[in-house]
């Protein structure tokens, strides 16, 4: 089969429609220079969806997809051929400049562009001036004609109304980090919808017009996980930033349940996955990154208020909506994480006052024992060997006091207990 190597120019010709244009712009910001087109790619998710839905259509589309690989370095077909003949420096150039890939399905979306399948693209840089970006990522591997490539990211795809609307797609996106953390099965969008609809909804199962919250929770139960529901209550301005920080620290995705309004009237419910955030030097969240199946991966969300209850994003700019409001957050969690967000959050609010009174900043987050002890290993702290050999539960909630973004004191709570139980205090002031 002929190999196609193209120069990347924004807007990129293969990326049509509104989501395609977003992706082209995103790649432009990442510094894409060269594209390799894999013309005959078997995408696992699409193949399963094809077997479950499209194969029985009278006018069935192709089974194969196209996969576009993006690189930050400029190179020609000759350079690629060098790599394919085993030249190590040519392989290294491809590996180090790899930005990720986009799968294009052989189906047109409502916006006229091809439906975007599994998309694995590098995140924005971790540093932005004096700000820090934190993302939900894990290592995603790709094999290009035998050349191993990888990027640390969270996979994305757009909705395919035949088998999946926004809720199913949010669950599909969430499955990737959950599978890496808790070994739950990776399922295609059609398989997710199939499991979810064993709880009844108002619409047909297929084509999929969407899932209700009960169906989303039903799916999460079906893979052996539990769901933390967090209502974005009016009287607390910090629920969203605190929950985002707390769960992303543990590598757990957060599904935002949104109400989109027009002319002051609630119109539509939409689901999207919060995939990262940006903090200033004081650790304050000033931007969220969201995998929205109708916008794109790492779409930027601003808010005029620190609560991030009201979002400013493409739904306002281009979607014709007047307001995007977060109603609740759904967090798929391992059942052994028994100490709920609500209970530890209450404790945090009480301890925060004492910590602030001493002039320290304060936050809280969930972590796993190995991850936490690995972090401690590299830090200066009091009684380090004693703390490192102390038996601790697998899941720990940490309330942290910090100064200039450096940890000063950690208070550890047993994440596997029903009610808050303090385990120990870690003093970084050695």
């Amino acid at each position: 089969m002929e190999i196609e190597v193209l120069r990347f120019e924004h807007p990129f010709l293969y990326l049509d429609g509104s989501i395609g244009r977003y992706l082209s712009s995103y790649l432009h910001q990442l510094g894409a220079s060269t594209v390799i087109v894999e013309k005959h790619y078997v995408d696992r998710d699409f193949l399963i969806d094809y077997a479950k839905f499209y194969a029985r259509s009278f006018s069935a589309p192709e089974r194969f997809t196209k996969r576009l690989h993006f690189f930050s370095l400029e190179f020609t077909k000759t350079e690629l051929e060098k790599a394919l003949s085993g030249n190590q420096s040519a392989i290294k150039r491809l590996y180090t400049s790899y930005l990720g890939f986009i799968v294009l399905k052989p189906i047109k979306g409502a916006d006229g562009g091809p439906l975007v399948g599994r998309t694995v693209l590098k995140t924005y840089p971790k540093k932005a001036d004096s700000d820090t970006r934190t993302f939900l990522t894990h290592k995603c591997k790709a094999c290009l004609y035998g050349i191993p490539l990888d990027v640390d990211t969270l996979p994305f795809q757009t909705q395919d109304m035949a088998v999946a609307a926004c809720a199913t797609t949010s669950l599909w996106i969430s499955l990737h980090p959950l599978s890496a953390l808790f070994q739950v099965p990776m399922l295609s969008p059609a398989e997710i919808t199939e499991r979810a609809v064993t709880f009844p909804g108002e619409e047909r199962n297929f084509p999929s017009f969407g899932l209700n919250i009960g169906q989303m929770i039903n799916f999460i139960n079906s893979i052996g996980l539990d769901t933390e529901n967090i209502n974005v209550i009016r009287e607390d301005n910090e629920v969203v930033p605190n929950a985002v920080r707390a769960y992303i620290a543990a590598g757990i995705p957060i599904i935002a349940c949104l109400i989109l309004s027009k002319g002051g009237k609630q119109c539509d419910y939409h689901a999207a996955v919060i995939s990262g955030y940006r903090t200033d030097v004081n650790g304050k969240i000033k931007e969220l990154y969201v995998h929205d199946d109708q916008i794109g991966p790492y779409s930027r969300v601003k808010s005029s208020e620190p609560s991030f209850r009201i979002w400013e994003n493409e739904w306002i700019k281009y979607g014709g909506y007047g307001e995007v409001r977060v109603e609740r957050l759904l967090v798929p969690i391992y059942p052994k994480i028994r100490l709920t967000f609500g209970r530890i959050y209450s404790v945090y609010l009480k301890e925060r006052d004492k910590i602030s009174a001493q002039g320290f900043g304060c936050n809280f987050f969930l972590t796993q024992v190995n991850q936490y002890k690995y972090f401690l290993l590299s830090r200066k702290l009091k009684d380090k060997p004693t703390i490192l050999v102390e038996p601790l539960p697998r899941f720990i909630w940490v309330i942290r006091a910090y100064l200039n973004n450096e940890p000063i004191l950690d208070i550890l709570y047993d994440g596997t207990e029903v009610f808050p139980k303090k385990l120990l205090t870690v003093n970084f002031c050695a």
Binding site: N212, I213, R343, Q358, G359
Partner: protein
């Protein structure tokens, strides 16, 4: 000149942290506190039967 200043700063910090540890150790939860925690937990995590049926359709 800088070295002693750093030591003073660090000692001040150590004292502040020690105070904080002592303060945090004093934290107790009365029956009323525990009741408040439970109320907050219920309010923040409750899903009504109507909410369960809200469909995400776009």
């Amino acid at each position: 000149m800088k070295k002693p200043k750093k030591v003073v700063k660090s000692k001040r910090l150590e004292k502040k942290v020690k105070n904080l540890v002592e303060e945090l150790e004093k934290t107790t939860y009365s029956e009323e506190d525990l009741k408040k925690i439970e109320e907050f937990h219920k309010r923040i995590s409750y899903i009504s039967p109507e909410d369960l049926l809200k469909s995400f359709t776009i």
